[in-house]
Symmetry: C2
Subunit: 141 residues, 2 copies
């Protein structure tokens, strides 16, 4: 997670009732549409690497169906608005779903992370593993 | 995860190239369409509880957009087929996306799980926390 970045998520009034009971969760998974990506690639260069990787082995927006998901910290809910931390989406991203995060469903132990391993275990600079916003992927910055 | 259940995921030939490099990962997140759910509810009774909860605080298929996601163990990849463990989807579920699981993006620590807590920390029977297939939700069994 991009742990320092705060943001808000607003749901349409007709879905507000669906937020009931969510405030007890410390983390939620946001499922959204990569609306700024206009093409589909089968391989792409991930932000932390320099070679082409299969699109299903990276988190690039240029994927078939353009569905993104991000784990964020839920700070509070006020009416139709979620206050969150750890945002890596661009502004105005259309939200498709919100799911409660539960380690019993969403956490794996004894994990291997393939090509990412060399970047995530500290062999390269830490900055490369933190800069993971959609804007970076899209080269908007 | 429903750790004991094995299954396969087949991608269309035109997307096969996107699987490159994925075999180094021990776990993947499957994003799919809840094709058997024909209605949208804003509250529903989760399989492990007896009262209505907001749809965004549970993992029910009857949610707006009908998008599901499940963390599974990746056993191996053979051509266009992923062999996986920990499946909780119904057969023939249409796949929307495959994402590599990485604890640095997808794992949270110091987690609170709201209404689920009483069920997940062992206060109720373990069976209730394991029976979490989509078929149970849909009352197909």
């Amino acid at each position: 997670m991009a742990t320092d970045t705060s943001g808000t998520v607003k749901v349409f009034p007709e879905y507000k009732e669906g937020l009931r009971d969510l405030d007890g969760f410390s983390h939620v998974i946001l499922v959204y549409y990569f609306h700024r990506s206009k093409n589909v690639k089968l391989t792409a260069k991930p932000y932390m690497d320099n070679c082409q990787r299969g699109i299903f082995s990276i988190r690039s927006p240029h994927r078939p169906n353009h569905i993104g998901m991000t784990l964020v910290e839920l700070v509070k809910i006020d009416d139709d608005t979620l206050y969150i931390k750890g945002v890596d989406m661009v502004n105005e991203t259309p939200l498709l779903d919100i799911k409660p995060y539960s380690p019993s469903f969403d956490m794996a132990v004894e994990v291997k992370t393939g090509w990412m391993e060399q970047f995530l275990n500290g062999k390269r600079s830490k900055r490369m593993t933190i800069v993971n916003s959609e804007e970076d992927w899209l080269h908007l910055k």
